[in-house]
Symmetry: C2
């Protein structure tokens, strides 16, 4: 169940000439809606604007307002927990990769019911280590663009509903992120998160967590290139994204990247830093919310 | 000007829930139509089938016939030079990367007028060396999938209509291909073409050229990892794709990958191997054509 607008019009279809379809030539944002408020709206719009600039996609001044108007129209004051997906493509194209400077961007806005995350937030989640590796591509690293075949392939590695997320490494074997989330772990009272300058998506929630740690002097944060073993040696692990906020990883159940059938599932505690950040984030939402 | 079918129905739009749009989760083929015959049809279908298998996209037995029926319906016996684009996506999706095994693939068929290539085929083309580099990703290498942001970015590097193609290297600096073509060059009576096991699209025309060389014992072919300097030292250079067949590169006009403003444009002769392959290809078409 969802409601949609394409370029502000009630529609759920777009042209097969759109470059979003033909080349994945566009961007998206996924935003949590609580009590009719899009959380971290400015951070999402700002990331989309920065990413559009990197990909030379037009991001007119009016676009933020247009997306917000779309949201208000679709939400219509509902206080249900919702998820807002914004897509921006370079618009329609002739055959061929060449960018038509006269083409107009396509704006797509989709509002859906949020998944129920109470249990996962309370109990933590199980993850696997994926075999799929992410290419190292500084040109596209960090950007939430529409070229997501790597994530699709990684997500296809497990079927069990007991597994919430898969952790992916880059082609050099460094741990990067989850299929749909960013990754953090605590070791020796330092919060570690992978460097995303070569692969991965720079999540809005990832930056929010780093900000909260700094603002509240909770723990020092370090980003770098880390091995799977670094992750498995952690004191506590959590993942972040804009829809589910912060989830504790309490179980690394399998490693599909090795033929090691002797891999022993690793149990992690739902740790104090994870709990503190979950609480600080909810406080932040209350503080920032206009409600 | 083009004619289109979506899942066999006359339509030029598709659902915004399609995974082709959301993730670039699909494949395409671009096929030259001459006298109402799709050239190298079997090779195109075979590549799409192999690629679908690698990406775990359903490719039912009936799909080849469905695409061919689409083509015949759109072509309607016209003998104009045309270009057929086939797209296959994993179909519609709920939010999230997870593959729904019950989802049906989407089949898109687009027929357009072919560009006029007489002058380029006769005189050869000018190219530039692009700054954009291709990631090394064995998982996706060779596949003509819908994640084409790298090509879009490379193609955006030049505007001059006198430049037909841009040559791209991988992130290690090895020459890989053109934005929309494969690359060959002759040096010391060996035909060289880049290894595509880590990056690039394995073009149907590339394989056809390698086959023709072997069948006619024209020249030995070697694939490997080569530098830009290897390319610039060539005796003759040509590019291939399914729409324009084989085009001689007679000028490498600029190197955007270096800040070297002293780069001297390099002139190449429209060489005998290029001419021989152009002729052999046209003979092959006549031999194979049912007309």
């Amino acid at each position: 169940m969802s409601a949609h607008l394409v370029n502000g019009q009630s529609d759920n279809r777009l042209s097969i000439s759109d470059r979003g379809l033909n080349y994945g030539d566009g961007l998206f944002e996924t935003i949590q809606i609580r009590d009719a408020v899009p959380l971290l709206w400015q951070a999402h719009i700002s990331r989309m604007r920065t990413s559009a600039k990197r990909l030379k996609i037009d991001f007119p001044e009016s676009l933020e307002v247009s997306f917000f108007n779309d949201f208000e129209k679709l939400c219509n004051g509902s206080t249900a927990p919702l998820v807002l997906k914004l897509m921006l493509t370079r618009g329609e194209t002739q055959r061929g990769y060449k960018i038509d400077p006269k083409a107009s961007i396509t704006r797509i806005t989709i509002l859906s019911l949020a998944p129920n995350l109470v249990k996962l937030t309370r109990d933590g989640i199980s993850v696997v280590l994926c075999q799929t590796q992410l290419a190292r591509q500084p040109l596209l690293a960090g950007i939430k663009h529409l070229n997501r075949l790597e994530q699709v392939m990684a997500r296809s590695e497990w079927q069990a509903t007991s597994i919430t997320e898969g952790i992916v490494c880059d082609t050099q074997g460094y741990v990067i992120e989850g299929c749909m989330s960013n990754l953090f772990w605590v070791k020796n009272n330092i919060l570690h998160t992978p460097d995303l300058s070569l692969s991965g998506v720079e999540g809005v929630m990832r930056n929010q967590v780093i900000e909260l740690c700094k603002e509240h002097q909770l723990i020092d944060t370090r980003s770098g290139f880390y091995s799977k073993q670094d992750l498995l040696n952690a004191d506590e692990i959590f993942i972040t994204n804009s829809v589910f906020d912060i989830l504790a990883v309490v179980n690394v159940e399998a490693d599909y990247s090795t033929q090691d059938i002797m891999f022993t599932p690793r149990i992690f505690k739902f740790g104090p830093i994870t709990r503190a950040l979950q609480a600080l984030l909810q406080q932040y939402y209350l503080r920032k919310s206009p409600v």
